[in-house]
Symmetry: D2
């Protein structure tokens, strides 16, 4: 369950407060030049520091200890690890009897019979997304696609120029906010995705919802398109390469890339951990009691989510792109009879 | 790619205008009483007939030719088939050189090198969802959950009591509309779903996007929750069984069922085929030319989508419920030390 | 569990005495000409008739009801079915309390809680191999490989020219015999197979042992090579295309095809059902009691196994050949630096 | 391709001469006490030292850096690594133009376009089996089965009491030998294995052939049973728990465990690397030329293979045992009607 993909295969390991987190990645084509700087840059984008992000800052020094020879991928799995250094496990002790609203503490306790590592959210921590980011960096090293990622809404804010000020206000209240990220990819050829159960949009949605705090995914117009009439929703073909006049479908037709930009929107919920005191059930007293969460938290985790979503998307595209090589028709009929 | 699931495994086959469509289903526990009437009823719900649905009405007589003995599942795969009877292949001939806006004709042509069966959308036709419905009926026969499915918006309409009238108006314009379906499931125990890559919401989203015309999926509040502050989004625990005061997360925490109702919303785009003439690229003249689509179409396919989405959801729940049996901890520690 | 493969994907259904058996096959490249005669011929090879084979002869008329358009594969799954016609279910009634030695009756009863279809061995019947044969025929339609299959030993017999006479003698005793089949494939390019867990020999072995009655699989010299010294076992390279002077490894090195003929041997045990009376446990009397098996049986099922093993092998090669297209390096370095 | 299993899932990484080898293991039930000593002991059994084994001795100190909390499995993946310390990469430089007979050098070069890490056999090295051993140790920690592993033949030798002397003789000749290992497992309940394509024997065979140098696998009597008549091969049931008077089928019926001991034989070929000079193709001169292999090699790798095969077997049993929990019938009919 901790492995994703058929050819570009990603296996995650690690938990918030254990010695290491990391990832085994296979499917990077042998000969791919491994760009360590890209991995570093992508990890840096995920790292806190900006207004609205947590005070737990880790250097995230990564090591690659298998799968590279003379600077290139060998065709064997790559193994990338990051040590967990800045862990303050004591912060979580007092939460043992009172599950934090919005968190997975309670379900984890039931699921793993009480044997899970509860510190810092354990395997449910956003910390694991650092491993996902590294895998995505590897995907981008051989995919000839261009990724664009944009925060289009944070709380009630749609003008990102006043973002810092807005988040200072949220922080002052001891609150948190969520947001919507728009992801676009240019350069995907027609026909990536495999019906019926490995469609491009379906695989992407699965990956997006795998990321903690994601609560909505849509392509093209998304839910906002509900009020449009068919003639106003349909994308009209304007060229022989599949280009359409509009892109309301977000670059996906019948679950396949259609030659236009891939465009999706992802809703990230407000950070569950807030400074403000909340009520929650107490397993000892069997009543609702106030809870004050310690630890160091993001006011707007969505601010750091962009690179996570982008690289997760890259993982899906890497896998489906390799898959399309296996299913590609070698000799199409010259004039498509069944267009 | 036409197979979904690990234990409750569904393999679809068939295309719109070929002799048969159907499904092989494995994982129905041996001994499950097979309720033919339920399959029939579910297929009937999907069948057109109401205002706003297509005039292509097929009886959808199904046969089960393997996997049943003395009225019960044997533990072997069940094989269910429906003959395609009311096919009018000629309707599609004139579309060969002019791809229909919103349809998969063009991408299919590229993907399959021109060898696909273009008639009626081939494998991209909504027709295959009849097979999915049958598989979902089987899932419901052994799942102790209660499903509720509701159309909450169609085009600009939110009051469903005037739905017929509204759709008559849309039809009169030669147009189509989409809509939003809300799905709820009661009775799911805590802990269904497997992190990191087989989470409950992630698997459901994948399945929903596998269904033609789906363009958005969200859980709980979904995108509408973006303007809420953390304290107003978090679901406060109110009991030892995981019950929360609100259900903004839609019954999923950390990718696991959390003991509350599972609630999701699915956006189905307006039917691509409309009676109104549209422009589209013509591969012969290499210009935009008007296109008038024949065939028999739904004004609001979303009206028939409910049972498809519901039964598709049942398939995912069946698979993850069986999986949870394999991963279940047999001897939890009596007082969860790590709550 | 009834599905094999990643790209050339085979899903079996059916049981010995249910209305239909069949197979859903995906991964046949769109545009492949479907040769119905080959399927028919392969089914005929499997059909009894020769000395030593069962009197249950079925016409095995098959239908293909999805996945073909204008004589070619469309890229969608193919659906092939055979009706079970010559079933005499009464023959099996008296076996309910006395499990047949060598058969799966007992384990099936436990595994499926008593709900399995016991007639004719149900899903454990060799009858399902007819479906496997059809899938293999499809594989051969697009694989540019040459298959050779040879019976090299039957019981104590190694000279196949006196086979009929030998089997008449076995039959006269009310006995059965097993045998060894040698399979060879020419034309496989270097590098088919994916380490570590999808190696060519590993996948083939898995498939062979999936076939009822197979009890041993070896490549090249196999177990007979145990007494050789290393210098006498190693295959010496004699050309730049990987050709070796001998082929003791059976065409597989490191789990990959090595450019020489693929060669394996498969041991098929003696048919479990024999005319001769055997003792077996009686669940009613709780003692050993004589059992006389009715029904119509093969004296040497191995005589019909050749085409089953061959086509099963073709399925594996089809899948791994498609997979190798996805993992192939597009730009190898011109002079392999790491030979 | 480097991942095995559905629930007990093993992902290998590393190559012979890269910094680390290791394994990610998921599916160890939360709460399982992790016995570090068992891992250490199993690794020690694999380590050279005895007569006939290589002089490359590595301490094989392993680290577990994720998945354990308070001495028990958390339910998250475990991550185990071993550093490669005693690597002498220069030994392999002169082999670049002359592929070693019996090795994967040549096929790897083609498969990975010349970009693979050729040192010490890279990913094809037996070194990776250390990672497999660790995963198997974890499997044994929660499986209630008893494993017995025995070397039954080495070269021409069947009396193991004179093994050291025999191997000294082989070594003196600069030669190598192979052997046959017999594996037995007691305590497996009836019904482990899933037809049609996840049968117990099929999965085991796949795993065994994944291990370098394995060239044959058989169950029960194996190939030696070919000369027996049916009545002499069939195992006669003698009790209501499935016990049979003989065990010629090796504890597997219809691909399922049948309540008797699981028994298989595995043929390991002679070590490919020998001290004796061999001829092989030279890519520069394009002729056969003598080759003298440096490095440090095993005379009889089979001597160290036992624990690898045993623990690999444990991995398969762990996975299928967990799977059987998901497919188990909860309410069997009290008196099996279909026995």
């Amino acid at each position: 369950m901790n492995t994703y993909g058929q050819f570009f295969k990603v296996t995650l390991f690690g938990e918030s407060h254990q010695p290491e987190i990391g990832v085994v990645v296979e499917g990077v084509p042998a000969g791919t030049v491994i760009d360590m700087t890209l991995i570093e840059q992508d990890l840096k984008k995920r790292r806190p520091g900006a207004v609205g992000t947590t005070a737990r800052v880790e250097a995230d020094h990564f090591r690659v200890t298998a799968g590279i020879f003379q600077g290139r991928a060998t065709g064997s799995p790559l193994h990338l690890v990051i040590e967990n250094t800045d862990t303050r496990s004591k912060d979580y002790q007092h939460l043992l009897k009172q599950p934090r609203p919005g968190h997975a503490d309670y379900v984890a306790s039931i699921k793993y019979g009480g044997f899970h590592d509860h510190r810092g959210g354990g395997r449910f921590s956003g910390r694991l997304t650092a491993a996902l980011v590294m895998a995505g960096s590897l995907a981008k090293m051989f995919l000839p696609y261009t990724f664009e990622t944009e925060l289009i809404k944070v709380g009630t804010l749609t003008d990102m120029s006043s973002l810092d000020q807005y988040l200072e206000g949220i922080k002052a209240k001891g609150e948190s906010v969520g947001g919507i990220v728009k992801l676009s990819v240019k350069g995907i050829p027609v026909g990536i995705g495999e019906p019926f159960f490995q469609k491009l949009d379906a695989e992407i949605a699965k990956m997006m919802f795998s990321i903690p705090a994601v609560k909505g995914v849509s392509f093209g117009l998304g839910f906002e398109g509900v009020e449009r009439l068919g003639s106003d929703f349909n994308d009209v073909f304007s060229d022989s390469d599949g280009t359409t006049l509009s892109n309301h479908s977000g670059g996906v037709s019948g679950g396949l890339s259609n030659g236009n930009d891939l465009v999706l929107k992802v809703f990230v919920k407000p950070t569950s951990s807030i400074q403000k005191t909340q009520e929650t059930y107490d397993f000892e007293t069997k009543t609702l009691k106030p809870l004050s969460i310690g630890g160091r938290h993001d006011v707007a985790i969505v601010r750091r989510a962009g690179i996570v979503l982008e690289n997760a998307l890259a993982i899906v595209l890497a896998d489906l792109t390799l898959i399309a090589r296996a299913t590609k028709i070698e000799k199409p009929i010259s004039v498509p009879q069944n267009l």
